[in-house]
Symmetry: C2
Subunit: 423 residues, 2 copies
């Protein structure tokens, strides 16, 4: 295994999209000794100014010694530069794929933030462009690198749950104030909540689940069916807090439930629940022939290990914490050891890890651990769920974006792999 946190050849990056999430990535990349942020772009000048001010030029700039990146309002200009090695796309949901494709067509290995997919054709096009150009695009799904999800991945791949049968995940996050206070032009979620109705944010939970179930590498999702509840929460919130938007009737159902079927027979349940008052949860659940883990409460039951009465009515969950510690993922072990040398990333560390996974794939010129097929499949769930809701819950077929390659593709090798556990 490569030394974690080692400094490789410098990667010069161009960053497109400097909203809150984009600036957050810039902050981490600029802190890496082997990354140079050469150019930045946003179509809204205040985002450029704020990025420069906070990190490069302001009186309290975090990186006053770094070279000041070039700036532009036109991402096409950035893609024409000869002083960048790779491109990051952190724009709005509806522009991620389009700009990522332009970046690959311009010859750059690319990463992009995730979110809702827009159309099946665009998802397929992303894969066609990546294949045709030979340039990879990595979706930066941070939850694939979360401490908890990686420990569960370790347990899954070591067979602790037996054969997997069913997984659940959710994006339960009361976003009424965030979505409500934004504006259509500059908040990436707002127009989607006002006009769409489906599983708008599947990747946080789907990313880790896809890796547990080897989606794209020996397994695939074959169908998606969804129903949506009434849309009440956001409209009530707007009526109370945004008099200027009091007439808006958001279309996104408060709770959108999706059922997915896999080629190998497993089922997946996803929940999108963002406009009602409730605590945050990614609602993870992994269930197999030997036991079950539930994220809410961090509970586990393993048939041959949980100290519980044999009689079925008396089975009791136990605290999963000791198991998560026992199955701590090797990447997290080394990350914690190296932490003093590194900028600790957002969201507890997973943001750093996913960014670093991409940078090292660029340095090494290898396939990134997450690729165009992951991005296309996970983001297509939004489109399929939307179609299914519109058709009363009719199941929608998931295209095989790999054109049959999933039957024989093996796991990504290396320390950053989410497909297998590095020894």
């Amino acid at each position: 295994m490569k030394d974690f946190g080692s400094i490789g050849p410098t990667v010069r990056i161009g960053v497109i999209g400097l909203g809150g999430r984009g600036r957050d990535h810039v902050k981490r990349f600029a802190a890496m000794k082997d990354v140079a942020v050469t150019a930045i772009c946003d179509n809204w000048q205040p985002n450029i100014d704020r990025t420069l001010e906070e990190y490069f030029t302001g009186p309290d700039a975090l990186y006053p010694d770094a070279t000041r990146p070039a700036t532009t309002l036109q991402y096409q200009e950035l893609l024409e530069r000869s002083d960048i090695d790779a491109v990051c796309v952190f724009t709005s949901w509806e522009t991620h794929m389009r700009i990522a494709m332009d970046a690959m067509l311009a010859g750059f290995p690319t990463c992009m933030e995730i979110g809702a997919g827009q159309s099946l054709d665009e998802c397929a096009e992303l894969c066609r462009v990546s294949r045709r150009t030979g340039k990879p695009v990595m979706p930066l799904e941070n939850c694939c690198y979360d401490e908890k999800e990686m420990a569960i991945l370790n347990m899954v791949k070591k067979g602790v749950f037996g054969e997997l049968v069913h997984c659940r995940g959710a994006y339960c996050h009361d976003l009424r104030d965030e979505v409500g206070l934004g504006d259509r032009q500059h908040h990436y979620r707002q127009p989607h909540f006002f006009h769409r109705n489906g599983e708008l944010y599947p990747t946080h939970e789907m990313g880790p689940i896809a890796k547990y179930l080897s989606i794209g590498r020996g397994n695939r999702i074959i169908s998606v069916s969804s129903i949506a509840s009434n849309a009440r929460g956001l409209g009530l919130w707007l009526a109370k807090n945004r008099p200027d938007l009091a007439g808006v009737r958001p279309t996104e159902g408060d709770v959108v439930t999706s059922m997915l079927k896999c080629a190998n027979g497993e089922t997946i349940l996803l929940t999108h629940d963002c406009t009602l008052p409730r605590p945050y949860s990614r609602g993870g659940c992994v269930q197999g022939t030997k036991g079950i883990w539930q994220e809410d409460g961090n509970l586990i039951f393993l048939e041959n290990r949980t100290n519980s009465a044999k009689e079925s009515f008396a089975h009791k969950f136990e605290d999963a914490a000791p198991y998560l510690e026992e199955y701590d993922h090797p990447l997290w072990k080394t990350y914690r050891d190296a932490e003093s040398r590194l900028v600790v990333g957002g969201h507890g560390g997973m943001d750093y890890l996913v960014d670093r996974a991409w940078i090292e794939s660029v340095q090494d010129g290898v396939e990134p651990p997450l690729d165009c097929y992951d991005a296309a499949t996970w983001m297509a769930i939004t489109v399929l769920s939307e179609q299914s809701v519109a058709m009363g819950g009719m199941p929608q077929a998931m295209p095989d974006f790999t054109n049959g390659a999933w039957l024989t593709r093996g796991p990504v090798p290396g320390m950053w792999s989410c497909d297998q556990i590095p020894s």
Copy 2:
């Protein structure tokens, strides 16, 4: 409100079906001072013998002073008796409705145990027979009378959760040993697990949810979509524990997930999960515009009451116990006060309450709190989910068994009502 636990005119009952569950009901009915168990029937003599022995004639019989009930192997004989006022049907899943219809046609108010429905036509026929004969049939769904579910019902009807948007329920119960050790002839579940694939046991969770959402009385379920995971757990168990059945390949998916849509826009999620190692749960969840309750962990979040940071990421659940106490259902208050006078029922008291609810409806000659439409709708979910699984998750239309009456039917009145809270 009628005095709880008062002794009314004696109700003479005939009981058909004396398996474990049937004997359990006989035990409670025989203990009621205003109920006489006049006749009992089972098509398997050992069940009759055991009932007599345990309750009426054995050296340790519970009710040695009670009159010994008449017995028969043929339920038609029981239905011809002139010394019974009402009939109980506690037979196998596939005979509940047929025998209940025969009982109504013979002129008796009837109750029946619940379980999986067999066909949509039979569900509709149950309602037609009840209408035509003017005799009610009450499904004895005990969970409608559980302490917890009744407190939640109280909260729902008092608007604590605001407008309801989404409900969840589950039957998560590791039944491998129970189903596996049975035999096809005398275990009611086994043949269904060996040959069917759907939501086999919806009523425990659907009963309370139907009452929260006023199903059949101003609202109705319009569609059911289901998917089933692989069926692995029971087959593995049989291979290990039942060499004589090692060749059996059960068809029932380990986890069957069903999504239901209601006419008024609410959605319901049901889970059937009975053949994997896991703790018991009915997985209840009630979610509305003002907050959420989750049964697992007994957690609650109410926007205007839960003491939690305002920022959405920091919302935290709190313990629901004080709320369940505050909203204790009036029926449970009086039940606990009266408990010393009563036989305490099984499953914490709900079994007594549901049995008593039926007996008092017979005594008073009034509509029972649960009726043919409840039975038909809840049990039809099994049939529809089975069809949906067979069709790859295609949504199935729920028939309106009330023929339009749901649009105007109001709540059942009285102390036993699950539709409104008695004042």
